[in-house]
Symmetry: C2
Subunit: 141 residues, 2 copies
C-alpha cells in the first residue's frame, strides 16, 4: 500500500514506472480482456448467462434490439475465449444451448465490481459529462 500517490497495490500499478514497450502493451492481458468485454453486447450476454443456460432464441428474445449477426458474433467471441460453452442438442430442428464455463463464471464477480461502481457513480459521470460538454466553446481554463 505504498505506491506513489493513490496507487493501488495490484497488477494495475506494477511495472508502470518506465516506458511501456510495444510488446508489453500487446501482451497486456488487462487491455485485452477489457476490449473483449468492452464491446456493445458481451457484458449483457454474460450477465444473462450468469443466471443460467439459455438457448439462442431465448437470448435473442431477452435482448430485443440485438441483431442475429451481433448475437452470433458475440457468442462466438465469448466461446473462443473459453467464457461460454455451446452445446448442440441433436433434436429436429436443432437446439443450441449456451452457458457460462467455469472461467466465465469466475468473471462474474470481478465484473460486478465494475458494474456496481458504474451504478454508484453514474450520476457523477453524467454530471461531469454535461458540465464538460457545456463548457465547450467557453473558456478552456
Amino acid at each position: 500500500m505504498s505506491a506513489t500517490d493513490g496507487g493501488v497495490p495490484t497488477a494495475l500499478s506494477a511495472d508502470l514506472g518506465l516506458p511501456i514497450t510495444e510488446d508489453e502493451h500487446q501482451d497486456c492481458p488487462a487491455t485485452d480482456v477489457l476490449r473483449r468485454i468492452g464491446d456493445k453486447w458481451s457484458v449483457l450476454v454474460v450477465a444473462i448467462l450468469g443466471r443460467g443456460p439459455r438457448r439462442y432464441n431465448e437470448l435473442h428474445r431477452s435482448i430485443k434490439e440485438i441483431s442475429q449477426r451481433m448475437l452470433t458474433r458475440t457468442l462466438r467471441g465469448l466461446e473462443r475465449d473459453g467464457l461460454v460453452s455451446r452445446t448442440v442438442h441433436p433434436t429436429v430442428p436443432a437446439t443450441v444451448e449456451y452457458a457460462l464455463t467455469d472461467l466465465g463464471r469466475s468473471l462474474l464477480l470481478p465484473l460486478s465490481t465494475i458494474t456496481d461502481w458504474a451504478l454508484e457513480n453514474r450520476k457523477e459521470i453524467d454530471e461531469a459529462r454535461s458540465l464538460h460538454d457545456r463548457s465547450q466553446g467557453g473558456s478552456r481554463i
Copy 2:
C-alpha cells in the same frame, strides 16, 4: 446468494429475467463504462496516472507507441467523464498536468479486480483461443 445458477448477488444479476428493452440498454451504466475504458488506451493511462500526476509528454514517453492524437483523445474522454483533471500551468511554454480526480481514483480498485482476473486467467484464455482457432475448419461438434 440465491440466484438461479451461478448468479452473483449484485446489479449484474438484477432485472435480467425479462426482455431488455432498448431504453434499458441505452441507460445501462455498466456497458457505458466498459465501453469507455474498453478502448485501446484508457486503462493504461488511468493506471499510469494512478501512480501520480503526469505531464502530457511524460505520458507520451511512458506509452511509446501511442500517437499524439490518441493520447489527446483518450485524455479528453477521461476528462469529459470526470475521471481525469487537466491543469494548465501558465509557464512559457505552457505545461499541462493530468491527474486522476477522486472519481478516477475510486475506479482504480474496481478496475484492478478485472486486471487481476485477467492476469490470473490469461493462460487459460490463450489456450482456449488457440484451441478454438485450431478447431476451425474441423468438426463443429
